[in-house]
């Protein structure tokens, strides 16, 4: 360990800063032969310490690339072209690769949809977990192993000693994801970006993992961005929801406000598309058409071609505006104005 250890425990002030992460007008574009794909096109979001933000959208809306942009994992031909990502006041967009490497896995962690993105198939679990600790802290192998064991207990892993000696292929999908989550929490990070971590899992296993992650975040005060296509998962989990469409956040607000009183027609369409108890057998209120191509998105509001409320005004691009109650919206014709 030649690199100076990043201060972890020394600066743990009792009053956490208001915002762990703040992204401002973030734009990540992919320069392909077929044109510029504006995967993320002006995303602003904030997460506070101990808060869970649900980032919801359909495939191709840019939610994963938003997550990757925050932790600096965008590969060419993609590039963050403008905007800022401030992590506890420090701008990450301009940060050096070395600085990012020091932060990632320590202060900022990521959980991927497929735990095999995190795990190395040819190394035992203990090797990988000890490595993750020792990369960021000058501790001995024995101490690192003890931390790894504790982390596994925290995520509800039965028989942690045995799992530590196992190779990833010897474990079920649910257990692998648990280990990936344990690794993310290993260095008690300030921020975790979770990209659909339970989508590939069965319902009972998903519930177990949601339960454990929820508890850990509350306990450790970790800020979390939970990226998903499943509104029902974030409805049960998140404090706030941000709905993404075609590279932009179209609506943000407290979970109960967004689910109970959606303002953006797309949000309402998404909610209407989820089968719910009181409308059994009745047709779902579907959104017509398809999500747009990000190479050539519609002019103005990207949702315009699928929207029942669109007017000539929507050929202009709606600005994101605050509408009261901590909600933000990108629409000229919201369903109803939020209560103050």
């Amino acid at each position: 360990m030649t690199r100076p250890a990043v201060a972890t425990t020394a600066v743990a002030s009792p009053k956490a800063p208001a915002r762990t992460l703040e992204a401002e007008d973030l734009r990540t574009h992919f320069f392909t032969r077929r044109g510029i794909v504006k995967a993320v096109d002006g995303v602003s979001l904030q997460v506070a310490s101990g808060e869970m933000l649900g980032l919801v959208g359909e495939s191709g809306c840019g939610k994963t690339i938003t997550g990757f942009s925050i932790i600096g994992l965008v590969d060419p031909p993609g590039r963050v072209v403008s905007g800022a990502v401030r992590f506890k006041g420090e701008d990450l967009v301009g940060a050096s690769a070395e600085r990012m490497r020091a932060l990632r896995g320590d202060r900022i962690a990521m959980i991927f949809q497929d735990p095999m993105m995190t795990l190395n198939p040819v190394l035992r679990v203990d090797t990988q977990m000890v490595e993750a600790v020792q990369a960021h802290r000058a501790v001995g192998r024995g101490a690192a192993l003890e931390l790894a064991r504790e982390a596994l207990v925290q995520v509800g892993m039965p028989a942690p000693e045995r799992r530590l000696k196992a190779y990833p292929h010897e474990l079920s999908g649910g257990m692998r994801q648990r280990i990936a989550i344990a690794i993310a929490f290993l260095n008690k990070p300030d921020l975790i970006v979770a990209d659909e971590p339970t989508t590939a899992l069965d319902v009972t296993i998903q519930a177990q993992i949601l339960h454990e992650v929820q508890g850990l975040c509350r306990k450790t005060g970790t800020a979390m961005i939970w990226i998903t296509h499943d509104l029902a998962v974030v409805a049960a989990l998140a404090d706030r929801i941000a709905v993404m469409y075609a590279g932009r956040i179209v609506e943000t607000g407290r979970t109960e406000d967004v689910i109970e009183r959606p303002l953006h027609p797309y949000t309402r369409g998404l909610i209407g598309s989820v089968p719910s108890r009181n409308r059994r057998g009745a047709p779902l209120t579907q959104i017509p058409g398809l999500p747009p191509s990000l190479v050539d998105p519609p002019i103005g509001c990207a949702f315009r071609p699928r929207c029942g409320r669109a007017s000539a005004l929507c050929r202009e691009e709606p600005e994101e505006r605050a509408v009261g109650g901590g909600r933000r919206l990108r629409c000229f014709h919201p369903l109803l104005e939020a209560a103050p």
């Binding site: 359909e58 079920s172 519930a207 929820q214 499943d230 409805a235 049960a236 598309s273 779902l284 999500p291």
Partner: protein
């Protein structure tokens, strides 16, 4: 009421024989045996004309294998499938063919289930042409009608599957199944791979087709919300066995089997906000080595000594409602 399609004691076992090296090692005294997976273990299920039956369970519970056997894509190890009261395996000639065509399958992956090198008109028109259901001269207009019926413009019929989105490919898969005028559709996770807004479109299409063509569905899904929405009756499977079978509203109002209770409690729902999850413990056991007695007993909060020894039988607990749990005897 006679069932349109009925499974009787349907069982499927997959046996993995040791490979050459394994056999030699076995000769030399190593403990290597055949591995048997009881994918489906004696399932009885009857579906009436016009009914939608939802088949739910977690991965590895045998729901897809059961669906494939009912669709005729897989031969059962034991048991039989009856179509209109007659054993399908014993039919022959034109009758057998008609019984096979009457049950069609919609697959999960709208990418893998369409021939990438065939045009849409071929994909949709091939089966009715081969089976002589439509005169050659009328084939083109027949496939046009089918495409229109599933919400695709006939203008796209010269295109290849890769030129379509996931939702459109699902529609092509549905048109292909409808082309042979089936009575039963077995939908195996038919909308699982689609985005939420597209799922709603396809689900609406299924509901509309059911009404207009008087179709019967076996709707296999892990998504309880979807199953609740579309089904008249729900069957819940766990490790190859049916644990509960009930009319949808009754089941969701109060599941009987402890596994059904756990499964229903753990589905994230829009109307259950900011809840604290209270999950059931443990993982799904391996179907290679299922627990003795009731397969659910290692995870069950109400486990009794009897559950470890004796497998509970599926018994009627109310009209139209069956559950396999020893608690119902108490």
């Amino acid at each position: 009421m006679t069932a349109l399609i009925e499974a009787r004691g349907l069982t499927k076992r997959f046996v993995k024989r040791p490979d050459f090296a394994g056999r030699i090692a076995g000769r030399l005294g190593a403990d290597i045996r055949e591995e048997t997976v009881h994918a489906v273990d004696g399932v009885d299920l009857s579906i009436a004309k016009g009914e939608v039956v939802g088949l739910v369970g977690e991965s590895g519970c045998g729901k897809s294998t059961l669906g494939r056997m009912i669709a005729g894509l897989m031969e059962p190890t034991e048991g039989e499938v009856l179509f209109k009261g007659r054993g399908r395996a014993r039919l022959s000639g034109a009758e057998a063919r008609a019984a096979r065509l009457a049950v069609q399958m919609i697959f999960q992956d709208p990418y893998a289930s369409l021939n990438p090198r065939a045009r849409v008109e071929t994909i949709v028109g091939e089966a009715p042409r081969v089976h002589g259901l439509v005169p050659r001269a009328k084939l083109a207009s027949y496939s046009d009608d089918l495409l229109a019926r599933v919400g695709l413009s006939p203008d796209v019929k010269r295109r290849y599957p890769h030129q379509f989105s996931g939702g459109q490919r699902s529609r092509i898969g549905i048109a292909r199944a409808l082309a042979v005028q089936p009575e039963v559709l077995v939908c195996d996770e038919a909308i699982a791979a689609l985005d939420v807004s597209i799922q709603a479109q396809i689900l609406n299409l299924f509901i509309e087709l059911r009404a207009s063509l008087n179709l019967t569905y076996l709707f296999i899904s892990h998504d309880l919300g979807v199953v609740e929405h579309i089904s008249d009756r729900v069957v819940i499977m766990y490790l190859g066995r049916v644990v509960e079978m009930a009319p949808t509203t009754q089941l969701f109002a109060g599941p009987n089997h402890p596994y059904a209770q756990a499964l229903l409690a753990e589905v994230p729902r829009l109307d259950a906000r900011k809840r604290t999850f209270e999950p059931i413990k443990g993982e799904i056991p391996s179907p290679l080595d299922p627990p003795p007695g009731c397969h659910f007993h290692p995870r069950c909060p109400h486990v009794m000594p009897r559950c470890r020894a004796e497998a509970p039988r599926l018994k009627t607990i109310a009209p139209g409602r069956l559950s396999a749990c020893h608690l119902n005897d108490a």
